[in-house]
Each structure stands twice: as C-alpha cells, then as structure tokens.
C-alpha cells in the first residue's frame, strides 16, 4: 500500500485495529506523517464537499425539471379541459337553440319547403331581350330575392302578370317574411295556371307553418291533399296525417 493509500484508508476508517494502532504510532513519532495526514484530510474534504455540491445541483435540476413538466402537463390539461368545455357548451347551446327555438311549424317548414323554380322565363345566357320580366327572373335565379321582389312588385301592374304575385310571395318566404308572403299567395285565382291554385295554397301553408299557425296551415294543406293528380298531393297528405 502506497503512503497516500494508507492515509486515505485511515481517514476512511478502513484500517484494521492493528494497522490503525501502528499508523497512529507512526504519526506520533514522525511529524512528516502528521503533516501529510493533515494535507490529505483537507484535500479529501474539499473533494467530498465539492462532489456533494455537484450532486446537490443535480438533484435541484431534477426538481426544476419535474416542476416544469408538471406545469406543462397542467397547462396542457387545462387547455384540453377548456377545449372540451368549449366544445360541450357549443354543442349543448346548438342543441338547445335548435330544439327550443324551432316550433313544430318551423320544423315542417324546414322539412317540406323548397324554392319554387323559375318556370316562367328561363334565363338564357347571352340574351339581352331583357325587359322587367327577365330582369326579375334573372335576380330570382341569382337568389337576389330582395331585388327580385321589387321587380315582381312592379310587374304586378302589367297585364298577364299573375305569376309576378306568386313569385313575389316566394321571394318574401325566401327573405323570411311569411306575413308578407301569405297575402300574395291568397291573391292567386282558382283558375290560375302559372302556377295553379293548389301550388299557391301549398306555399301559403308554408308561410303559416313558418309562423307556426298550424290550424291555418292545415286548412290549406287539406285542400292540396284533395287536389287529385297534383304533384304536391302526396306530400300534402303526408303532412295532413302528421297534423291529425
């Protein structure tokens, strides 16, 4: 064993009792040994304290990382929670809104209403033979119902323009103004052909559905249901049965 190893083992308390006694005797007899011991003790202490301090830093770093990780997962969790909560609120809100705000009439309207097509003056690409009529239907085909309504209103004054009253009613329905649409449909005569009376009655009923006036609507739908051979008959019968 080298001298430093001997001193180190003594400092570690690893010498056997006999060796320890011998070594201590040596220390008493030779001051050089005593000095070497003190020197090594200091270095050993310094190395030990330095090593402990490094380990302490290592452990503190673990704590810091854990705290960061925890904060991260927490913020992730709260973001997730917020996201899920937001989705739920939107879903519940949508559900409540649709179920509470839709009346039975409105539901029927949504199920059965379809925009009546332009069967009077099909828009021909490139044709400029305009006039009020084609202007009105051009706006109608372009779903510009506000503009179309104004034009149809002006057309009503002209002869052979019963269709204008009907399409004005469709425009009002499209614009969400059933109370204005209903009088238009009512003006359609029994013998009308562009379109016929049952169609007008059907759309009048739609207006009443939108207003949730079920009895008024049922009255009109009943008449359509009796129009034998009419395109809307079967649908009208279906609705009539639902209302019974």
């Amino acid at each position: 064993m080298d001298q430093d190893e001997l001193i180190n083992a003594y400092l570690d308390g690893k010498l056997s009792p006999d060796d320890k006694r011998l070594f201590e005797q040596l220390l008493q007899e030779d001051p050089v040994y005593l000095q070497a011991l003190e020197e090594q003790r200091q270095i050993k202490l310094a190395v030990t304290l330095e090593e402990r301090s490094k380990l302490k830093d290592f452990l503190r770093e673990i704590d810091r990382n854990e705290a960061r990780l925890l904060a991260k997962t927490n913020s992730l969790k709260s973001w997730l929670f917020a996201g899920v909560a937001a989705c739920l609120i939107v879903l519940v809100g949508y559900f409540l809104w649709t179920s509470l705000s839709t009346t039975p009439g409105e539901k029927l309207y949504q199920t059965y209403y379809q925009t009546y097509p332009n069967l009077v003056a099909p828009t021909v690409r490139g044709s400029s033979s305009g006039g009020l009529k084609s202007e009105a239907f051009l706006a109608f085909d372009n779903r510009d119902y506000e503009k179309a309504a104004v034009l149809f209103e002006n057309l009503i004054q002209e002869p052979n323009s019963e269709f204008a009253i009907f399409y004005l009613g469709i425009c009002q329905l499209e614009l969400g103004r059933p109370e204005k649409a209903i009088p238009s449909f009512q003006k359609i005569k029994e013998n009308a052909s562009q379109p016929d009376k049952p169609t007008a009655l059907w759309y009048e009923a739609m207006g009443y559905f939108k207003l949730n006036k079920l009895e008024e609507a049922k009255l009109r739908i009943g008449k359509v249901a009796q129009a034998n051979g009419h395109a809307l008959q079967s649908q009208a019968q279906e609705i009539f049965q639902k209302l019974e």
Binding site: N8, V47, R52, F58
Partner: protein, 179 residues
C-alpha cells in the same frame, strides 16, 4: 440478481440515472413522513437531498456492502437522521436508536463547510483539469485503490498514475500559494 442488488451495484459505480430514479421514487413518501415533525417544505426537501447524497456517497465509498433492508428503508433512515439533526430545538436525536447511529455513517462537516481555507481549496480544485479532477474524485471521494483507478481511467501502470496524481496535487498547492 434482485432489483435491489442491481440498483446497489449501479449506485456504487456512481450511476446518476439510478440515483434519479430512487430520488423521485421516495420523495413524496419522505415528505409525508417528515411533515409530522416540521411544516418547512424547504427544510424537508433539503434534508431529503442530503440523504440521497449520503446514500450515493456511502455506496460509492463501498460503505454499503449489502443491505438487509431495501434501499428505500436505508434512505429513510438516513433522511430521518439528517432531519432530526436539523431540528435541533426539538431534541429528536434521542429518538434515534443507538444501532441506527452506528450503522449509518454520515459526516456532515458542517463547520468545515464554512472554513475559508477549505472554500478556497474547493475553488482551486474546480479549476484543475478534468483528468486531475477525476483522479482526485476517484481516489478521495470513491476511495478507490490506485490499481482500480488505473483500470477505470486506462493508465498504463500504477507508477504513471501515481506521478500524475502527484502532479495534480502539486499544481493544486501551487495555485493556493499564488493566491
């Protein structure tokens, strides 16, 4: 080999990952135990860290040959010892059994840690080259024999290592004189 033995082997080699595992594994448990004596979380954490350091040190120095109990139990014993020593006013050290005081050798070197000469020595030590630091760490901290260090660090012979070590200490002394 049991998990405990494996962990102990790794601790003896100074494996930091094992130390980290043990540190995290028992942290909450020790904190709960310590709360019965103090509410100072900073003090609790500090004692626990010192206990982990003592465990690492004793393992590396070869002071833990085998363990009858688990590493966790050993760690708790050291933690308890350090905590009670820290809570001086409460005279809790009396509660520590004689056997425990003997089986857990920990020198805290509290006074020495404040010694100015030692602080300077530590500073100069950290300024040495990495090889010198490693030799001194293996020799004084891990209490490895020169032969073992030769193998660990790949020195040709014990004599080469010895002269390297002497040079390191000479440099250290000289840097102290220059100061």
């Amino acid at each position: 080999m049991e998990v405990k033995e494996k962990q102990l082997e790794l601790l003896k080699k100074g494996d930091r990952e094992t130390l980290k595992q043990l540190y995290l594994e028992h942290k909450a448990g020790f904190s709960l135990f310590a709360k019965r004596y103090t509410q100072d979380q900073f003090q609790i954490d500090n004692c626990y860290q010192d206990a982990i350091i003592a465990l690492a040190e004793n393992a590396q120095k070869g002071k833990i040959e085998t363990l009858n109990s688990s590493i966790g139990t050993y760690l708790f014993s050291i933690g308890k010892f350090i905590l009670f020593k820290n809570l001086k006013g409460k005279n809790l050290t009396g509660q520590l059994s004689e056997e425990m005081l003997e089986t857990i050798p920990i020198e805290t070197y509290e006074e020495e840690a404040r010694d100015e000469y030692l602080l300077l020595l530590r500073q100069k030590l950290s300024e040495l080259g990495p090889k010198c630091q490693e030799i001194l760490r293996l020799f004084y901290f891990q209490s490895k024999s020169l032969e073992e260090i030769c193998k660990l660090m790949g020195y040709e012979s014990k004599d080469v290592l010895k002269s390297s070590k002497s040079r390191c200490i000479k440099n250290l002394k000289e840097s102290l004189i220059r100061n």
